[in-house]
Symmetry: C2
Amino acid sequence: MFELMIHLENDSKKPLYEQIYTYIRENIADGKISYGEKLPSTRFLSKYLQVSRSTVELAYEQLLSEGYIESEPCRGYFVSDISKLYHIHIERENKEKEYSIRKKQQQSYKIVFSPNQNEMQYFPYNAWRKLSKEILAENNPDLFLAGEAAGEIELREAICNYIYHARGVNCIPDQIIVGAGNEYLLILLAQVLGSGRSVAIENPTYLQAYRTLQSMEYTMLAVGSDENGLSIEEIRVAKPDIIYTMPSRQFPMGMVMPMKRRLELLHWAAEKEDRYIIEDDHDSEFRYKGKPIPSLQGSDRNGKVIYMGTFSKSIGASIRVSYMVLPEHLLEVYYQKCGFYASTVPKEQQKMLAAFMNQGYFERYLNKMRGIYKGKHDIFLALLKKEAWVHKIYGDYAGMHVLVEVNSKMSAEEIVEEAKKQGVRIYALEEFMISDKKKPVMKYPTLVLGYGALSEAKMREGIAVIENVLQKEDSI
Amino acid sequence: MFELMIHLENDSKKPLYEQIYTYIRENIADGKISYGEKLPSTRFLSKYLQVSRSTVELAYEQLLSEGYIESEPCRGYFVSDISKLYHIHIERENKEKEYSIRKKQQQSYKIVFSPNQNEMQYFPYNAWRKLSKEILAENNPDLFLAGEAAGEIELREAICNYIYHARGVNCIPDQIIVGAGNEYLLILLAQVLGSGRSVAIENPTYLQAYRTLQSMEYTMLAVGSDENGLSIEEIRVAKPDIIYTMPSRQFPMGMVMPMKRRLELLHWAAEKEDRYIIEDDHDSEFRYKGKPIPSLQGSDRNGKVIYMGTFSKSIGASIRVSYMVLPEHLLEVYYQKCGFYASTVPKEQQKMLAAFMNQGYFERYLNKMRGIYKGKHDIFLALLKKEAWVHKIYGDYAGMHVLVEVNSKMSAEEIVEEAKKQGVRIYALEEFMISDKKKPVMKYPTLVLGYGALSEAKMREGIAVIENVLQKEDSI
């Protein structure tokens, strides 16, 4: 019999049975107690350690259930052959290891004017914790069993309700497909719409969407825009099957598509049976002037619009929940071609989000954040307007970024490079253009400046750096 | 000024300020207090309601922050134009609505012998709750900001460590790509390996993998197996670029590929530069006899194997976390072609899982569950062996299902249909065969019977139904 060196700590947070369990388990794992050895009886050990017999029994049960020991009727407990068990030693050295292939050193900046970063300090963490606790409260095996391919019905109902009231989207929950991000949904959608199709997309645009559709072997056609958005003339020339557009607020240009252009697009789509419009309604939540413009989908009478929305801006980028609304006649194809894909969003996350929406937190948070972002917008615009290098500002009064035309002989890309050297990341409009189709769309060099995650101090500091970069150039 | 009808409840769970806030908010939302109306001063209202002034101030601040009221210096508080705010009325009637397009009525069975369902009643829900609480404990904005495309490094380190110790996979964390399920990772992989390639896949197989690769426009070649797995002769005839295989335990056949066949496959892959083997190591965690067989990846010296694993079986189907290990030389292509896709797994979920692994819960749970599943396996096998209709059993001593050849003149599909009528879902081997390539691979009709989620009582009841189905046929 092995030597007993268990020192029980009565005032430890760890229950006594767990201390016994851990001691024996570690000794078995380390080979100090070996295969086939007999353990002391629970009666003996409880007396020896001066604990209750049930405490020892609990420890033994735990060891039994995890396969460290076996019970032989009338003979007692014996150490198992543990070579079959998992022993996952956490190797701390691992963490020190230098990884040779680490993705190119990510440069860190003191200030990033990202158009896609949002402010997370006002998030209702308490509510989120409360909901998490409620959802995990019961030992609910269902939480871990496979769910519905298109998403949990309670979340699809909450989304349906929200996009109807907030965005005028007409649908029933069955038309909503929930997925882990817009790109993933575009991959599914390409399978629904079929292979080998051509897509017209504005240039500049969300390059992620461009690249995703391209990776699905779609023919991508870059088309121009005028002040009302996507040019219908260019569509007539390019002859795509599908249009990808952001009518509520084009990214990154910021223009809103007026009703007339919307109707022209819908008319174009209705002309042929398999034409479709993908409406990306990415950050329509935040408008600081006038009423929000309802979705294009809401004006569609022919089942031509696929509406896409996301919680990445309204909640946070890492939440990884997006949704698309399919026209009813595409649902059968969806279930046939994609019904076998399990949902990519964990059920726990879906239930959290549904509760967050159904209990009113989402609505309150949106309303609060609009105020916060409007405040940031007003400060940022006021700061920019004082700057002599600012020629003109576009895309204000909505979202979390503006376009700024700059009085400078430098190119926007040169300005960006110089600012980087001073630890400030700003963006050139060209960075949002399709790589082999970069062409000047603005008269002056144009920057994309996001302010969603920045404090006033950071804005001031960043603007001073841009000014500094531009002054330097003048003095040359 | 509007009429004050607030009835404060001192003994309510809701704080007083929240009661005031809710009352005013609802009155504004309902139009009972309208745009431009002046609110009573905080001083007046606190006196009137006999609460502290700070309580009223708190309520007003909340209303301000959510945009319901505006403050005008020296004049007081006024109701805002709330037509710009979100009002998401939860329509309860919605829930009663009959959805016309609801996906074909899912039949419910009293017993399902699913090969993919696992037992969740032993999951350490307490530990999961504890970790969730810890991770959400601080108001951590970072939790909601975009993470690394390939997955959080702490999770990739934990996985790296686990697959090294448990499966002999040789890699560094940088080679691991985390994603929301195997199908999603296959979609990424198809982009890394390039378009228009051909894949040999065993038949029968995991049809999800077959369909996913097919949907990526890959040419799919169904190849046969012998008792050692994938036939190398058929590979030589089919001439694929890529092989998709499950060497540790073929699904659904259950055979384990011996070392000789593995080396033949690796040799085949090494012959040409762009040949690859996708190793799906789906349920290697659960073996009840002998030592687990190390991964094929562990024997690969030429960077030819892409290893894929999942937590769907070891934890639960809805957790939606899978991972693949890319050979080092494919990492550059991955970052170039797929680096722009944001990770599909929420950061919160990734942190939970990393903590679950790093704190030893995963190891303990795996060891416990192996004991549980072994117990179920032993009971199920003992029950089956008593049955006269059972001709032969394959794929035992591992996983959560067996293959059963049946003494019957009925086809397996007929047996399945008859059992369905009695509320029991069993599976015919043909259901796992590629639809246009169904051919008999067994002499007798063969059933796939999963027992992972079933109690002994359910097993008995289900087996009695199968017996009943088969007896009926005899008596005809």
